[in-house]
């Protein structure tokens, strides 16, 4: 299982809907197919993708093989994104502050045109 597969699996709206349904509790393929205007084989295909990505697992009951949510893959995908988002956001907030200072500096250097300082690109 890879993060890549996780993100690819999450990119499809039908699969996200299936995950949303499973967050309420386990369900069989038939039960999952019900709300969708889709054949059972089509739903089964989505379920295979989700299973392959580690987002769901299937029960051992040979008849029903209920699907259930596996939260670990989802948690990993989220924690990775959150982690990097936090890093970049912290940096860019410092960059915001720096740019404000640079704008003040530029305005000082060009007192003749204080109102058009946003456009200035002259040296």
């Amino acid at each position: 299982m890879s993060l890549d597969q996780t993100f690819a699996a999450l990119a499809d709206p039908t699969r996200r809907a299936i995950l949303a349904r499973l967050s309420l509790g386990e369900a069989s393929v038939n039960e999952l197919a019900e709300p969708f205007a889709m054949s059972q084989p089509a739903i089964s295909k989505h379920i295979k993708v989700l299973e392959h990505a580690g987002l769901i697992s299937r029960g051992r009951d040979a008849q029903r093989r209920p699907c259930r949510l596996e939260t670990k893959a989802m948690d990993e995908a989220n924690s990775w994104l959150e982690h990097h988002r936090a890093i970049f956001e912290a940096r860019f907030q410092r960059l915001d502050d720096l740019l404000e200072e640079m704008k003040v500096e530029r305005a000082k250097r060009k007192p003749a045109t204080p109102k058009s300082n946003l456009k200035g690109v002259r040296k």
């Binding site: 890549d4 982690h83 990097h84 970049f88 912290a90 740019l99 704008k103 690109v121």
Partner: protein, 158 residues
Amino acid sequence: MNDMTLKPQGDHEIVVVRAFNAPRDMVFDAFSKPELVKRWMLGSDGWSIPVCTIDFRVGGKGRYEWKSPDGQHGMALSSEFVEIERPARIVHKEVFDGTPQPVESVVTSTFVEAAGRTTMTMVIRYPTAQVRDFMLKSGMEHGMGLSFQRLAGIVEKA
């Protein structure tokens, strides 16, 4: 208002988009002049960037070294500029120290200005989908990505 987005794109890339309230030549300078880069590309929690040298021309090299507040931990990155189109676009390659084998990513940063605001889009491309996956996994296991080692410590404490 200046919300950032960060997401995987395809199976090789990560894309970061962020707007800044400044003209793009200014943002471009902040991304390319070492005395300015030093001011914001730190880690939080007191991580400093004692070495930040940038030879900003095509084929020129960059070197970045970070240190933890107690001086006990460090990380470093070497880069090389591939394309420079002031003030619209920078393409550079980067390799982090300390990976078992050198893994090079290619980073394309573009700057688009509208009404005095600049939108920066950064596409980080890994050589293969496997490498990107490896980067992501090591990031999760260690609380920091090998490709983003410079910022170690931020999340550990969060």
